[in-house]
Symmetry: C2
C-alpha cells in the first residue's frame, strides 16, 4: 500500500486533520493555563491519538493526561508517567491492569465512588506490590457517577485506611454544564457544580485528610472552572480538534478535523450521496454539518451513506470530495483506525488511533 500524497489520494471515508489548526488550539489552551495555580490534564478519550497527546504534553501547562478507560491508559503509558483514569475501574481484570501500569513507574490515579471499587483497587495494588492513586469521585449534578458531596469525607477516610491505594484528592465532572450554549447560564451551572465539589474538598480537609488534586472541567467550562480557586487541574479534551456541538459555543477554538467522504451518487439535482455514513461519523450529538458546500445539509445518515441535500443548481459530481464536521469528536474518532495529517492539501503523516474496540490489551 502506497501512502497517500495529497488529500485527493486518501481512501474514503477517512478522518483528516488540519495540523496547523490543531497546533493553534493546543497552544491556545496551554497559554491559558500557563499563569495561575490550575493546570491542564488533557483528556485522551477525545482523540485517542498518541501523536496528538505528545504534542499536548510538549506544549506545556500539563500535569499529565486524563483517560476514560484502562486501555487508553495502557496506550499513553508508553510516553506519559502521570495518568488519571477519570472513571470508576471495576472488575479484577481491570484493576490488575491498572496495577501493571503502576508497576511500570507511572503515577496512575483512578476515580472511586464505592466501597466495592475501593476494595478492588486496593486488592489489585497490594497483590502487585504497587501503589495506585485514588481520587474520590463527587457527583456535582449530572446523573452519572460520584458520591454526594456530603459523603465524600467518609469515603476519603476509607481510602486513607486501605492498603495499596493512596488518597490523592477529589474529582467532579460538570458534564451537565459544559454544553449549555448561553454563556451566563453555563457559567452559573458550572459555578454551582464546582461549589459542590469544593464543599466536599473542605469536608475532606476538615477530616484531616490530604487533597492534593482537585480535578474538574471540560472544553465548555475550562475558562470558568480553570479560574476557580481550589481547582488544581482541568480535564478538557475536545478543544484539540473541536466539533459541531462545541463550535456553537463562544470558546473560539478552531475546527481541526473532518470526515472526508466521496460523492458516490448524484440521484437528483438537489441530492447527492457520499460514502461517509454513521459508521464513519456518529450522530449522537445530531447530524454533522457539511463543510464548504454552499446550501448543503445532511438529510440523513445510513451505515455507509450520507444523503445530502444540495441547491438544485449545484455542480457537485460523482467522485467529488465532501468534508463533514462531526457533531461529536470522541465517538467519531473511535470509528477509525487512522487520522490523515494534512498541511494544506499535502498528507504529511498518518497517525494511528489507539485503544478502540475493547479487545483486551493486557501486556
Amino acid at each position: 500500500m502506497t501512502a497517500p500524497h495529497t488529500v485527493a489520494d486518501i481512501p474514503t471515508p477517512a478522518l483528516i486533520l488540519d495540523v496547523a489548526a490543531m497546533q493553534a488550539n493546543i497552544e491556545r489552551m496551554a497559554e491559558f493555563f500557563r499563569e495561575g495555580a490550575c493546570k491542564l490534564r488533557p483528556h485522551f478519550k477525545a482523540h485517542k491519538t498518541p501523536e496528538i497527546a505528545r504534542r499536548q504534553l510538549a506544549a506545556g501547562s500539563c500535569t499529565g493526561l486524563t483517560c476514560a478507560t484502562v486501555a487508553e491508559a495502557e496506550a499513553v503509558a508508553d510516553f506519559c508517567d502521570d495518568i488519571l483514569i477519570a472513571n470508576e475501574v471495576i472488575g479484577a481484570d481491570k484493576t490488575a491492569r491498572v496495577a501493571t501500569i503502576a508497576s511500570r513507574g507511572v503515577d496512575i490515579k483512578i476515580a472511586v465512588d464505592s466501597h466495592e471499587g475501593l476494595a478492588m483497587a486496593g486488592e489489585a495494588a497490594a497483590t502487585a506490590g504497587v501503589e495506585v492513586g485514588v481520587l474520590v469521585d463527587v457527583n456535582v449534578g449530572m446523573p452519572r457517577c460520584g458520591v454526594q458531596p456530603d459523603a465524600a469525607a467518609e469515603l476519603a477516610s476509607r481510602v486513607a485506611e486501605t492498603p495499596g491505594v493512596r488518597l490523592r484528592g477529589l474529582m467532579g465532572y460538570e458534564g451537565h454544564a459544559v454544553g449549555i450554549p448561553e454563556r451566563e447560564k453555563r457559567e452559573q451551572v458550572t459555578r454551582d457544580a464546582v461549589d459542590r465539589l469544593l464543599s466536599a474538598v473542605s469536608a475532606v480537609r476538615d477530616a484531616g485528610l490530604p487533597c492534593e488534586i482537585v480535578s474538574a472541567g471540560g472544553t465548555g467550562s475550562y475558562d470558568i472552572t480553570g479560574r476557580i480557586r481550589g481547582v488544581t487541574e482541568v480535564q478538557a479534551g475536545s478543544y484539540t480538534l473541536m466539533d459541531g456541538a462545541y463550535e456553537k459555543l463562544d470558546i473560539s477554538f478552531r475546527q481541526a478535523f473532518w470526515v472526508l467522504g466521496t460523492v458516490i451518487s448524484r440521484p437528483a439535482p438537489g441530492l447527492c450521496v457520499t460514502d461517509s455514513g454513521h459508521k464513519a461519523c456518529t450522530e449522537d450529538h445530531g447530524n454533522p454539518d457539511v463543510d464548504g458546500v454552499e446550501g448543503a445539509s445532511i438529510l440523513f445518515l445510513s451505515d455507509e451513506h450520507a444523503s445530502i441535500t444540495l441547491p438544485p443548481e449545484s455542480a457537485i459530481a460523482v467522485g467529488d470530495r465532501i468534508r463533514l464536521v462531526p457533531s461529536h469528536t470522541d465517538p467519531t474518532i473511535n470509528l477509525h483506525d487512522v487520522i490523515y495529517v494534512l498541511e494544506g492539501d499535502r498528507v504529511t503523516d498518518v497517525w494511528p488511533i489507539a485503544a478502540r474496540g475493547y479487545a483486551e490489551q493486557r501486556r
Copy 2:
C-alpha cells in the same frame, strides 16, 4: 491473555452472542427461502463476522453474500466466491481492489447508478484483465442512491457496451419500507417500491438486455419482497442477530446478541451506571433497551457510561453485569473487535469482527 471461560470472565464492555438463538434465526430464514424461485443473499454489513457468514452459507438457500464496502468483500472473499457489493464503488483505489477480488476467481458484482461509476469500474476491470459484474441500482423511493426506474434501461445499455464489466441485473433497496411497524402499511410501501424496480426490469428486458439478478429487500420486508414474482434474491442481514428496532416488528426472529456491561457506580437508589456507553452501543436508532432488569431503562449514554434508572428497591450492585439490547445491530457491531460466543453461560469461542475502521485493506 487467558480466554474467558464463562460470561462472568468477559472483560466489559463486550458483545455477547447466544449462538443457539443465532442458529435458529439463520435456519428459519434459510427455510423461508428453501421453496420458490427467490433466494437469500445475506448482508455481511449487519454483523461483519466471517464465522457468522459461514454459518449462513452452510444453512443453504443462499446465492452468496451481500457486502456494503470493498473491505467487507475482501474479508468474505476468503470463503465465498459469489459476492454482491450492494453499493456504488467510486474511486480508482476501490475499483482496483474490486478487480483484484475478481482476479481471485470470485464472481463479484457491484451496484452502478452513474456513467462515472460505470467508467471507473470498466477501466479497473479492463486494466486487470478481469470481468466485474454490474447491477444497475434503481431508486425505489428512499432518498439515497439509484437511477429513476425510467432511466435504468439507458444505463443498462451503457453497461452492456462497456468493456470489463458485464450486466448482471438490477437492484433496489426499499430502505424506507423495512422499518414501518404496521404490517399493512409496510407491505403496501414495499410492494410499491418493488413495483418500481420491476418496471425497470421490464424496460431493460424490453431493450433486449439480460437481467438475471433482481435484488431487493431487507429483514423487515423479506417475507413480502421474497414472495414477489420477479425478485430473484433478498439482501437481509439483521435477522441473524436482531436489534431493538426490528424487535418491534412482527417478524419473529430472536434477539441473539447483546452489549454486556458492568455496573461501575451506584450513585443513588434509583440509578446505576455501567461501562457500556455509546462507544460500545450506538444510539442512532434510539436508546438501547435494558434486558433482564425489571423496571430499568436507559436515562442517557455517554462515551463510556450508560446511566440507567432503576426501581428504588433494586438490589443491583457495583460489579453486577447488565445486558443491553442495541437499537441498531450494524453500527454497534462495528464498534467492537470481537464477539464472545456463548452456549448458556459458557464462552465457547471468540469471533473476530472484520473490515472495521476504514484502514485500507489492500491485498
